[in-house]
Structure formats: structure tokens, C-alpha cells
Assembly symmetry: none
Homo-oligomer: 403 residues x 2
Amino acid sequence: MIIDGMADRPLEELGGKTPLEAAKTPNMDLMAKIGINGIMDPIKPGIRAGSDTSHISILGYDPYEVYTGRGPFEAAGVGVEVKPGDIAFRCNFSTADEKGIIIDRRAGRIREGTDELAHAINSLDPINGVEIIFMESTGHRAVLVLRGVGLSDRISDADPKHEGNPPKEVVALDRSKEAENTANILNQLIWESYNILKDHPINLQRIDKDQNPANIILPRGAGAVPEAEPFESKYGLKSACIAETGLIKGIGQITDMDIIEVDGATGGVDTNLENIALSIIETAALDYDFLLINIDGADEAGHDGNLNDKLDFISRVDEVVGKILEIDNAYFILTADHSTPISVMDHTGDPVPLVIKGPEVRVDLVEKFNERSATLGGLCRIRGSDIMNILMDLLNRSSKFGA
Amino acid sequence: MIIDGMADRPLEELGGKTPLEAAKTPNMDLMAKIGINGIMDPIKPGIRAGSDTSHISILGYDPYEVYTGRGPFEAAGVGVEVKPGDIAFRCNFSTADEKGIIIDRRAGRIREGTDELAHAINSLDPINGVEIIFMESTGHRAVLVLRGVGLSDRISDADPKHEGNPPKEVVALDRSKEAENTANILNQLIWESYNILKDHPINLQRIDKDQNPANIILPRGAGAVPEAEPFESKYGLKSACIAETGLIKGIGQITDMDIIEVDGATGGVDTNLENIALSIIETAALDYDFLLINIDGADEAGHDGNLNDKLDFISRVDEVVGKILEIDNAYFILTADHSTPISVMDHTGDPVPLVIKGPEVRVDLVEKFNERSATLGGLCRIRGSDIMNILMDLLNRSSKFGA
């Protein structure tokens, strides 16, 4: 169970405590008391991990090999059945004027009708023999997947970053034919999207309501879908993923876990934690050996620099932890994927606390779950890439190396 | 000094203590008090090490490179002077009936006369130009070494694992000529062993006494003898190995240490610890810079799940530690090669405690030698592969990397 961005740095306004030290967390503290504690570097000390690279590392995959950019994970997360070799992109629906200048990168923060717009692009004919797969994500976001031969992810972004500019021409970042071909396809696709979207009924309605039309797509973050061994064949554990965001669901998807959808899971502090807890308890009762759980709100509060939200959210997640603690006969690992300090409003490389509760752990003397108590625990300091090895060993499911 | 399999997990019957926490160990505790402590992962966190791979790692060799299977180390351990490129096997003397069906994989647990039987096989002519080296080990065990050109260790085992079956035909595990050639030699050798052993005087005597004859050999665990830099040239330390089992003596042999034989060392809980202690003290007084010591009984007790034996053996090993502590002017490192928990009855990947006593260590606050006290020590959590570097540095014998 990974509480996204929960760890933090000491804050003056908390008398030098971190939010996790200051928040009311009786259940996490109970878990620390009956478990073995330590601190964990998701990748290695000081390295600022993304949520994606951290999760990849914690699941025992090498992020330097598997992580090819955010596109593939986002695409998988919204339900595109990506295949190794596909090139995936994150996209914005944006607004272009009649001269092709981007006047709103987020198309008036469009929320409705993107499924129909996406369908129109998804229905386009192949370009240079390459299949165009396009799907809406949340809000103005969408994903694009190119499938075919002669493709490369070594190409630049189309997003001009600032309004008042035309889409940037996509160019090859190396001298390969594949990169040039992919850049050509993208440049063609961007203007085809404009042609197909500008008079789309959804957009005509928007114009009628004085809303910016979503009449062009701007791809960025090209990444080749990596070859990742399915989690189940890697560990022999039948697994499910309970996550809120497309990014983490995408990691579950690419490692071939079952994805459990939770009603009301928003990925923010306003998420429905009751439903998430219920879903965890229900899924744990099914025929799974392993659950990957990600709850995202503390990270959002950290990125927003909103201390009260972070304190409050941590306390509410603590209640979810209390419910999971009632599950018997399981190993339960609680940690964060990185720190998102209120003072930094972004991820940092500070290590995160980690606790393992279960039948045969060497229970230590730690009695609180937080960044500093954990440093005195029996695990000392480990890395994300150690976690699955430690768990497999506790489960007596790992094979011996040697005699 | 490596106490094989000494570390463990908490046990309910010990009130949540581990055997090492519960056993009377005044000398180990004294050593913890005057030394620097930590926990150690022989390979890396969670990885279940064998005794062989752990020792290889602790001596500063990469087990993923050097460890080619148990055969080469067993062969070296019983005194075969193996050479890089040799293919070595562990063998059983077994009993086949007149139809060639294995009716006893351990030949009535034969204890005497195996030297003569082994000599008969060792005297066989080369097969396809490949020299046959064969030597008895303890009980019904023996080792086989093939020496010559055109050999491979990518072949299957002959041992059918269960009585009532003929020896399994050895087959190549890849498509190389070498593997096919080696498989052919093995298949020929197995039946030659039957022809040469079935009417051997030792076996005729056994049949007279209603004992199962040791009339066939069953090789398994093929491994190519690795190229390992001699310990002395790697570190400039003249070294000796005091070990009980063939496996660990083999590691000493392959790294070119002097092997010190100890009378009455059985590798079990019934071993002669007085003789082992005496041998350590005597060898330490000789012209050596480094001793590798392995005592095996705690591992045996762990594999047997025998708590009383493990507790008792640890207390008796503690007396050996007391004698070594009297040696002045030496660095003394005490650890285990892996955990062999009573509850699991096999090796686990749990880290092991480690203490270093010597003139210039940063003595810490730890006062007990066990799995949990050690986590609060000055070494924190290290790996087996760190140990020789730390020792060489304490000895002021390592070279500086940089200026």
C-alpha cells in the first residue's frame, strides 16, 4: 500500500515536525509497533523518483530499463491495450484559431464530449501504414498510440507550451529513418485532427455556448511501450491493482495485473476513501496473492503546498489502514512512493518510511510510523528494488540461490 | 568466523525471541559490546543465499559469476584438485537391481569401503578422450570430475529422484556439440560403473551381509569449475580455511586457501567443537593473515527444525568465540552466512547479525549479539560483498581510489 507523496520534510509551522509526524495516525502507529520498520529509497538515496519510476522499482522492475516515458503508462492506464513496440503519447485537446495558432492549450478545460471527439480521431485511416489509436483521458487529456512498423520514440513534442504559438513542428531527435517517419506521421496527424475536429458537432455546440472548441490535439512525451515480464510469471503471484490515477493503473496494466476500478476514486483529497477501503477488503477476499494499492491525495496536497489538506488526508487514510490491519494472515507493507514536501511542492529524493506487518517479521522497537521513527527500525535503510525480494522471502516463495 | 545458518526468526515458543536472542551467549555479547555491529545481507536484501553463494560473496567474489553449481565446490572440498574448465558433479552411490532399476538411491547408506569403490571408477580409461576423476565423499556421496576438451555443464541429471525407476538418461540442455558429447560420456559412464561395481569384492561382502550393494553411480548438479582469482593474489593475505563440510572446504580450495583438517569435525551438532577451537588457536599462531572459519551445526539444527539442538549448539559455539576473543591484535568478524529459521527448516533471506572486534573499530552502543540488537549498530545494514573491503580498510591494506 503506497500512499503517494505522503513523506515530507520538517515544517516550522508544525514545530519542526513533518505532516506525518503531526497528523493523527493511531492505526499506522499500531502497525509500526507490531511490525518491522525502516526507511526506503525508491530508487537510490537522493534520487527524485516519479510515482511511475518508484512504483516500477518497488515492483522489482528496473526503471532505467522499463521506464520509457509517461506516455505508455498513461495510455495503458486509460485502457488502451498497448503492446511492446507501440509508441505512446500524452495529448491535450487544445483550441487553435483559423490561422492554426493555439489560443487555449486546454480547450476551455473541456470535461464532456471528449469520448466522441476521441472516437473521431480513433477512426482515422492508417497513416503510412501505421494504425492510429486515440482515447480520451480525464478532462482535456487524451492518449495517442501509434502501432506499426518503422516507428521510433526519438521525436520532439508538438505542444508549444505557451499560447499564441502554432503547434511545434515535430522533429526527429536522431538520424534514424524510424524517427523521421514517426515525426512525419505526427505532423500529418496534428493537422488531420484539426480538419476532423473543427466542425465536429461537439465543437459546434461549444462554440454556440462561447466555450473554446477542442479542435486540435497536441501530442508530447513519446515513449515506446516497454517489454515487461508479467508480474504473475515473474513472481508466481496472482495480482490486482487498486489505484486512482491512469499512471499507476497503467503500471498495473503493463505488468498484467487485474485492474480494480473504484467508484468515486478521484486521485485527489476529495476521493472516496470509504469506497477505496471497501474495494481493498473485497479484493483481498478474492483469489489474489498480491494487491498493489495506491492512494493519491497526499501527493496532490503536497504539490499544492496545502498543509491542512495533507494533514487531514493522512488522518483519513489512517482509517483505511485500520481496516486493512483487520485482515488476518497476510503480510501488509505500508510506505510512500516518494516525499512531496509542502515546502517544495514537488517530489524530493528524501527517503520514505516503510513498515511490514505479518506473521514472521522480526518486530522491532519502533512505535510510531513516520520519517524519523522509521530510521531506528529493524530494516535500517533499504531500496525500492529490495521490497519484492523481502516479501517473497517472507512468503517462503523465493528460490534459493546456491546450496 | 561464519556460524552457518545461526540467524532465525522470532519464535512463539521463545516468547517472540529468536534462538540467538534466547541462547546463553556471554562471549558473543561481550564481543558485541567491544565491537561494531550491524546487519548483513549476504547477497542483497531478501535474497535466499546458499552457504556456498554466501561465502563466495563474503570473500568478495561475485556469486553470479563464480557460482556454477554445487558440483565444483563439493569436488574441490573432498580434495580433487579441480581446474578451470573441468565439469564436476555430485554423485550418489546407489543400488540397481539386475534390470537396472534403482532400488535404493543411497545404497543402504553405505559408510565403509566407498574409497575402494571410488578407486575402481577412478581407474577407468578415458571415455572419448575425457579423463574420469572420481572420489568418495561422506557416506553414500561421491564426486565426479570430467577433464578434457569438448565438454559442457549444460546437461541434465541422471538421478531419478525416486526409487523404482532406472537412471534418467542424461540429455543435453542446449544444442551444442559439447553438451551432447558430455551427455554421451555420462550415459556410458553410468553403465560402466554398474559393470565394474556389481561384482566388486566390497559389494559381494555387502550382499553377504544383506546390505544393499553400492553398484551404480548417479551424477547430478553438473557445474563447470570456475576461474577464480586466488584469495592471496586478490588481497595479499596469506589465508587458511577451517571448515567442516566439503562445500565450504571447496570454496577454500577454489580460492587457493590452505585447508586445515580438524579431527572429529562432522558438520553436525555432534561435531568436536573443542578440536575446532584448538585448531583455530593453533592456526592463528601460524604465519597466516586471514582465516576463514565455518562451523555448521546450527544450520543442521535449523534444517531439522530442532530448536533445542539449535539453542544448545549456539551456546557451545559461544565458548569457541570466547577462546578466539583471547587472541590479541587481530580483527575478528563474527557473523552467519544466512538465516535457517526453525519455523522454515531451510535458508531464508532475512539479514544476519555481524560484529567486528579489533583495535580501531568505532565501538557502538550495542551490547548483545543477535538479529535485532545488531540493527542498532554502527554498521547499519551492509552486504556480504562489503566485508572484505571493510576488513582490508581496517587493516590499512587497501589502496586509495583517487587522490
